[in-house]
Symmetry: C2
Subunit: 425 residues, 2 copies
């Protein structure tokens, strides 16, 4: 494609007119497509259909003669903690298995830190004046919402292909004791698919922080969510932090939300012995225990690590073609548009599409008008404000494969139209 | 039984020796009995065995074509909210159905109030200096633990047969804006079985509070947990508060923990429209939604109000004889011991046993030594301290019926021995 900037105004007008016609034709189809949320498709949920009738009327006893139906068991079933230990990179004793939603665990640990403080902390975060979290961008809107909701200042740091810009991170945390945490999605990051390199993970573990109560919020949401045969692995943050004398620094989170059923999965927390003790002490006034029947259900269904791997392969078979479809359409329609680029993730749930500065909101609005729902532009940045108005998160998993092509075509048309509009077409 | 006080010292010694021999004989049996927690027995859990294979592989769609397996639905399934609406005394729109543990909902609403404040509040509770909750005693230890954990001062008020002593309550809340709440178990109270009279409920609804952000924590845990055919009903706190212009005062909590499965039940919140909006706004940063499959499972199993009633009748058939057994043993062994009395609950999970002042801890210690676990003396009071060391909570539901008699005999023996010891036998 000829670069728009090099065209004459007449040519621009003609190109713009053509794009507008294609857009109008697309819009006239009256499609209803949705690329907003990282939601598994119905066919993916069908892979876990067994869960809907497990564990069965006669099966409710877990290890240690635990009646899963009754009260108790704050840390979660031993067999559930063991099942996820490798995925979390922690011994089962240092794992807590909770109800659905790792977001809830992240939220609650922030709340506990605010009201009660963390291990190594001299005072609750809420008694230390203004505090801040580092937010690698683009990032996950729900992380940012927690900070915004509780008045935690967000300091943006650039997210690169191999993780946050560590020169920036190290400098900030070394000098500012009000910085209490950083949001990390270390593998197949939301939305860029970035994978933290071993070097970055080690620097996060080793770096000096002015705050003794600094915490890595290590949201390993996509630890086993591969899209290729490469099965990327990352360094073990718990081990590295311990090696560098910062044993209590990482809070590791994960869940089965995109392994089994998003609404009815299990969330997990893994950390140092002291941090686990801390979390259990915080959970004690809150609940007598998690839903252990659902934990048993998951243990019976997933069985072991091999069971998880097998299931994730089946997910991959369903969703990798959807990612490929989006990438193919973008390559065909957008490859030569200046300042348009996108990520090619090896796992996770998202493609991050960068459009020319100042165009993202317009693309999302045009798409909506044409029946393609996209995540609001800006959602990838703190306060919902992308200063460059450039990044759009594409979530191709939820629609049927047959719909992904048209949806991606629609998005590409909207990008072209927004670019044309900007060029004054 | 002759009153101990009227006996000669020789007679006291002889009686004490006899009691000690009986106690030793009991202890020698080496029984292991447990009357500590309000836990349903295994046979009660069997009543909900169907839940363990519901909803079934093909059934995951709720009203409005909701795929319960996937994300979303913060307020809970419409049919689940409707199912519990009557039990909660609120329209379904004003009900939130959450994951297991109403305790977690109570805890979280306290936390949200501390960090963010409530509707009608000028500031978060944590920004208002020292705050306090009224604690009717004897009461539920886990309520008190929440206050203690977050540094909320606890002000004891006497719990009478018809509810808290309202003369005391009204006076306190009218004059002290630091009093932000009161813990209420309005029906079949833990541990006394007290039922709040219509008059008390109305006074709680109507009373003037110095704090505009005062909240009734209305833990209606035993709303349908009858032990007799009387099926006691209480006044509707939501309606009464609205009538008296205090629409946002009550937070109503309940759960299916002692209806279906304690570990895997549903918790509910009901309140004013504004309070429900407030809670949903607070939940938004925390989670994308509750476990809707478990909600569907409960809807399929319980079906409707009649289904709940039928199930509760089956619970009653299993546990009412256990309560009767304890009452029979106490009547036979303790009826004439001065300053010993106990409650005869019409529902709920507990009998409250009052022993002579200064004897409760000793009774619990003696029981433990003899193989009968009791809830620690003092647990019924804030900070675990019963100033009179008098009240013991008896929970007869968990042991088999055949064990309840021996356990109650053991407790009675321990009471007699503690009394004899105190009399100097």
């Amino acid at each position: 494609m000829t670069q728009v900037a090099q065209l004459s105004s007449q040519e621009i007008a003609a190109a713009g007119k053509q794009v507008k016609e294609s857009y109008d034709a697309f819009k006239a189809k009256g499609l209803k497509l949705n690329l907003t949320r990282g939601k598994p498709a119905s066919a993916q949920l069908d892979l876990s259909a067994e869960l809907l009738s497990l564990p069965g009327a006669a099966d409710f006893t877990a290890e240690g003669a635990t009646d899963t139906r009754n009260y108790g068991g704050l840390q979660g079933l031993a067999e559930a903690r063991r099942l996820f230990a490798t995925m979390l990179g922690a011994p089962a004793e240092q794992v807590v298995v909770a109800n659905n939603s790792s977001l809830a665990l992240m939220h609650d640990t922030v709340v506990y830190a605010l009201l009660k403080g963390v291990v190594d902390g001299a005072a609750p975060w809420s008694k230390q004046g203004e505090i801040a979290f580092l937010c690698p961008v683009p990032g996950y809107d729900r992380h940012f919402t927690i900070c915004q909701d509780y008045g935690i200042k967000m300091v943006q740091v650039p997210l690169k292909d191999d993780g946050p810009d560590m020169d920036v991170v190290e400098k900030l945390v070394a000098n500012d004791a009000s910085i209490k945490g950083i949001w990390c999605v270390p593998k197949y990051s939301n939305p860029t698919g970035s994978v933290y390199s071993d070097k970055v993970v080690e620097r996060l573990a080793a770096m000096k922080t002015a705050a003794p109560d600094f915490r890595l919020y290590w949201d390993n949401a996509y630890g086993v969510h591969h899209l290729t045969d490469e099965r990327v692995e990352i360094a073990n943050i718990l081990e590295l932090c311990a090696r560098h004398g910062h044993t209590n620094r990482p809070f590791v989170f994960s869940s089965t939300s995109k392994i089994t059923l998003p609404g009815s999965g299990l969330a997990m927390f893994a950390s140092s012995k002291d941090n686990v003790k801390w979390l259990l002490a915080r959970l004690t006034p809150r609940t007598i225990g998690p839903d252990k029947v659902n934990q048993l259900r998951h243990v019976r269904f997933l069985k072991d690590e091999a069971g998880i791997t097998k299931l994730m392969d089946r997910h991959k078979a369903l969703i990798a073609p959807k990612f490929q479809k989006v990438l193919d359409v973008f390559a065909a329609k957008l490859a030569h548009v200046p300042n348009v680029s996108w990520t090619v993730p090896k796992g996770g749930y998202f493609i991050s599409l960068d459009v020319p500065k100042g165009c993202a909101q317009r693309v999302v609005a045009l798409a909506k008008e044409a029946g393609v729902e996209l995540t609001p532009a800006g959602a990838t940045h703190p306060y919902g404000k992308d200063p460059d108005d450039r990044t759009i998160r594409i979530a191709p998993t939820f629609p049927e494969l047959a719909e992904v092509g048209p949806a991606a075509e629609g998005v590409a048309l909207c990008v072209l139209l927004a670019v044309a509009e900007k060029a004054g077409a």
